[in-house]
């Protein structure tokens, strides 16, 4: 019931956010002074070409009418056609989305596993050498941008010790092993900042919770250390960490743009970058719309997770 309530509340916020952000996205595209003829033909485009293609892509209609048509079409899966290649944008996104989602999902998994292990370990040894080491490493990792981490990982694991490829992508249909081999370095590069932040938040939350009387009481009743942490402390101490993780999901999706460029991966980020460089407004608008939708969906999921994790707190992000 609380989870349903959380979904409802998050969805109520998500709808206006979606409309406002898509309006801004569409508006920026319209203000960019780009047109399909310039995108396709460059300086050789005549005024007749410009008028013809503007009419073909509906750009001679009023702005609001175009926005309403665009957003209505988007709900049916139609994001228009590329001005440059004339390929449907939805089709291009459909081909590249799995790449970006794979990187983001693996980065998220790594961030959760590494961050949780480091955070829990540091909290259980608060004040000890492991805690101090985790704090120092997290502080260092937080200052390293994903593209620097990516380049460093390529130098170390693809050049000096060539165990992973320096770039490219293999779909899972060609084998899970090769697929993971190509994903691991970009995912690690993308996850370091999130893992560090998660570890710090979890450590702080858990140290406070482990001092609570209900945790000490569980110890006095004979509960083992593992059940104390996972049965009582983690659920109550993980709230801020989950909320922070919710804020990191959009960064993981957005960060894929840089990581895909560094690792030459044919993902959503690369599509958006190429689209922007070519002045291909429908491609940029389409990828941004999908990115916005992903961020909103992840926000709803985080709220559900928080509602399930801590029913007594009513906390959401």
């Amino acid at each position: 019931m609380r989870a349903l309530h959380a979904v409802g509340r998050a969805a109520l916020i998500a709808v206006p956010v979606l409309l406002i952000s898509t309006f801004i996205t569409f508006g920026l595209g319209a203000l960019s002074d780009q047109n399909p003829a310039a995108a396709a033909m460059g300086e050789t485009a005549t005024q007749a070409d410009i008028d013809r293609l503007n009419h073909e892509f509906g750009l001679d209609r009023p702005f609001l009418e175009r926005y309403v048509t665009w957003i209505a079409d988007a709900f049916t899966g139609n994001l228009g056609r590329s001005w440059f290649t004339h390929i449907p944008v939805a089709e291009s996104i459909g081909q590249r989305l799995p790449v970006s989602l794979s990187i983001a999902a693996l980065a998220l998994l790594l961030a959760v596993v590494l961050g949780a292990a480091a955070g829990i370990g540091a909290a259980l040894n608060a004040g000890g050498w492991f805690d101090r080491a985790v704090t120092a490493v997290c502080a260092a990792l937080s200052t390293i941008p994903a593209f620097v981490a990516g380049i460093a990982l390529i130098v170390v694991f693809a050049v000096l010790v060539p165990v992973f490829p320096a770039g490219g992508y293999v779909p899972p249909s060609q084998g899970v092993g090769p697929w993971l081999t190509y994903l691991i370095l970009p995912a690690v590069a993308l996850s370091l900042d999130s893992a560090a932040d998660l570890a710090r938040q979890l450590r702080t939350g858990l140290v406070g919770t482990l001092r609570e009387n209900y945790v000490t009481g569980a110890v006095v009743r004979g509960l083992g250390p593992r059940r104390v942490v996972f049965g009582h402390a983690l659920r109550n101490g993980a709230g801020p960490a989950v909320a922070v993780l919710g804020l990191h999901v959009p960064r993981l999706i957005g960060g894929a743009v840089i990581t895909e460029t560094v690792f030459a991966m044919p993902g959503l980020g690369q599509l958006a970058t190429t689209g922007a460089l070519q002045g291909d407004v429908p491609v940029v608008q389409g990828t941004l719309l999908v990115a916005i939708a992903l961020v909103l969906v992840s926000s709803v999921l985080v709220n559900v997770a928080l509602a399930r994790l801590r029913p007594g707190s009513g906390r959401t992000v």
Partner: protein, 267 residues
Amino acid sequence: MTAALEADGVEVWLGRRAKSRILDGVGLTARSGEIVGLIGETGSGKTTLARAIVGLAPLHAGTVRVDGTPVSGLRGAELRRFRRTGRVQYVFQDPLRSLDPDVTVLDSVAEGPAIRGDGRAADRRARAVAALEQVGLDPALGDRLPGRLSGGQRQRVTIARALAVDPRVLLLDEPVSALDAANRNHVLRVLDRLRREREVAIVMISHDLGSLAGIADRIVVLYRGRVVEEGPAARVLLEPEDPYTQRLIASVPSIDGPRPTYARSTR
């Protein structure tokens, strides 16, 4: 009455030097069915003594025995095994912080039997319901989260949780200090019934000398980590011998001038 709890020569040091000593050779005995009041100013070592008894504060010296069995030397898995018997239960001072905010009342109370591995889940719930009824709480409250209970109800839940594992020794840290008069009397009646009907040895840490006067058999006075006086409750409260105890009792606030007297009620 046999001694359910015997603490002898208990020393607790905060650091490695002798001047960090916060308990200095403290002895405390509680027999089955006896209520011992532990009094002293803030920082005198009352809570540390209770924590030392349940193994939360390491002993520098001394022993703690429960039903004649030494428990102060237990460590790790051995200590956990002893704790799971539920023979010694500790009720913390702040009932709100003593209950997991995201665990329902019934699940909290049933946790002790669950840790011990008593019966099936249904049996443990039945036991939890019985414990709630023992402290005068409606079992219908069992589905609530602690945040939706009053302070008095929470305090009784923490006592019910301790009772659910049939303790031999119950350590209560300021169990009535945050309660209004009606709730305080209710909790005191519950404790009185426990010692009479189940012969539980109760150690009650309290600043509320009025409550102790009404219920305690013996009073132990702690001052700067040492026992300065102990004896029958009426004697200690009415005719204190140690100057510190005299000052402590004289410091009880009074509205109309004369110092209140503490006469232990007949049971």
